[in-house]
């Protein structure tokens, strides 16, 4: 028995060494090549992390990270003066597209103005307020803040209530704070969101995320199972509450209504608080901009789910949860638009810009479950913003000097 077992030892040792060697080769290859990183479904590796901890913002983009400027933001160069500063989240940072394709950079190309992108994933209006003085230090003629329906309310709530970053943003009524903290201690929102996204902490999930060799095996399995779209359809059939697939002609995409519904559930006191914080932050930004003689506008970015709802005769076609989500988002936009009108804040609603190309069969989002606009969608936002700037701020011209 002992002799038989020992015969396997060289096989085990050599197999293990080969797997380690292959893992190392794939790691180096994925870090040097974007197409390889895409096959293995990993971001290109870098010796630096994309963000650093920050006592006020929670996290802050890392200047050392490839593609970030010396201030840490995603621009070709850090500017000393800018005509427009854009504050936003991943929709504006340009997650999933090249830096040149993100809408602030496209706006710069369209308008010939110097546009500084001060967006970072997971930021919301509360973060924009924290960054405002840095934005004003660039002496812009216009500050643009964004409000993305997909998770900004959650991000605002988290900054105020889930740490010591910005407790001053909490509600002035102690009973509201108590209710919110009670709810959060019973069932944290972030856990609900992670579970709606299908994430778990298993060894399989860890290997899937961290091993390049597992990435190759996944790619082989996916090829065996059919196209990405076939797999999306199969996934949606298995998890009808989590995913909803839209398909009409060449237009197709995967939506995540359950996750979005948690982050937009205004009946949850925490999300309701997130909306209040978002509105209060925009109001404070408007006041500060007015003091410094800087124009201020807000770009309202709907979720992909909401954009595609314009293509349906009945939203329930994509399921009950999807229908409920569309109702909640509609309510949020109604409240926000009424708030902005009341405050006299200029707003640019990106819904038509992102949905009208769909009428002509042009996709503004990817086929996958990615909720960010594709390069075409990013351009559409830039064009909508440029149109408003040309109309509302006709005297805006590029400032001289840097």
């Amino acid at each position: 028995m002992k002799i038989a077992a020992s015969k396997f030892v060289p096989f085990l040792i050599t197999g293990g060494l080969c797997a380690l060697g292959l893992e190392g080769i794939l790691r180096v290859w994925a870090s040097a090549s974007s197409p390889v990183a895409a096959v293995l479904k990993v971001q290109r590796e870098s010796s630096s992390r994309p963000f650093l901890p920050d006592s006020r913002l929670g996290i802050r983009p890392n200047p050392e990270y490839p593609g970030h400027d010396s201030m840490g933001f995603r621009n070709a160069l850090a500017l000393e003066r800018a005509d427009i500063v854009v504050l936003g989240d991943s929709q504006t940072y340009g997650s999933g597209v090249e830096r040149e394709q993100a809408w602030p950079e496209r706006l710069a190309q369209l308008s010939s103005l110097r546009v500084y992108n001060m967006a970072y994933p997971s930021y919301g209006p509360a973060h924009h307020l924290m960054l405002l003085e840095e934005a004003l230090a660039l002496s812009p003629q216009l500050v643009i803040a964004t409000l993305y329906a997909g998770n900004d309310l959650f991000d605002c709530f988290q900054l105020a209530y889930c740490g010591e970053w910005a407790p001053e943003l909490r509600n002035s009524e102690a009973s509201v704070v108590d209710r919110v903290l009670d709810l959060e201690s019973t069932s944290p929102l972030v856990s609900d969101i992670e579970s709606a996204e299908g994430g778990d902490g298993s060894l399989r999930a860890f290997l899937s995320e961290n091993s390049r060799l597992v990435g190759v095996l996944r790619s082989m399995r996916d090829t065996w199972r059919g196209t990405a779209w076939d797999r999306s359809l199969a996934g949606a059939r298995l998890n009808p509450d989590r995913y909803a697939c839209f398909e009409r002609g060449t237009l197709r995409t995967v939506m995540t209504p359950s996750y979005r519904k948690i982050a937009l559930n205004l009946d949850d006191a925490r999300i309701h608080e997130g909306l209040r914080i978002a509105h209060d932050s925009m109001s404070a930004i408007a006041r500060r901009c007015a003091e410094s003689g800087t124009a201020f506008a807000v770009v309202l970015i709907p979720t992909k789910e909401y954009v595609f709802s314009t293509q349906l005769s009945k939203v329930e076609e994509l399921g009950t949860v999807y229908g409920e989500l569309i109702g909640l988002e509609g309510r949020m936009w109604e409240q926000t638009e009424s708030f902005l009108t009341q405050e006299g804040i200029e707003s640019i609603y990106a819904l038509t810009a992102l949905s009208s190309p769909l009428d002509q069969g042009i996709a503004t989002y990817r086929e996958s479950s990615d909720g960010h606009p594709n390069p075409r969608g990013q351009s559409c936002i830039a064009e909508a913003v440029q149109e408003v700037i040309a109309h509302a701020y006709p005297g805006m011209t590029p400032a001289l000097g840097d």
């Binding site: 080969c18 292959l22 974007s34 999933g96 997971s122 969101i193 190759v216 990405a228």
Partner: protein
């Protein structure tokens, strides 16, 4: 202190392992080459789907 007998034993194990690798090298090299060829084909060949990331959360 390592004794001459222990050194001899270690040499013998290493020599047997080298002989094992000599006999089975194709078994290890072939899958590695195939895996790397697969990745190259998917990344640069017809199967390339660059940018098909799944960013959902933010």
């Amino acid at each position: 202190m390592v004794t001459p007998t222990e050194i001899k034993e270690a040499d013998s194990i290493l020599s047997r392992y080298r002989s094992f690798l000599g006999r089975t090298w194709l078994l290890w090299v072939l899958p590695m080459v195939l895996v790397l060829a697969w990745v190259a084909y998917k990344a640069y060949g017809e199967g390339a789907r660059a940018g098909d990331f799944a960013y959902t959360l933010h």
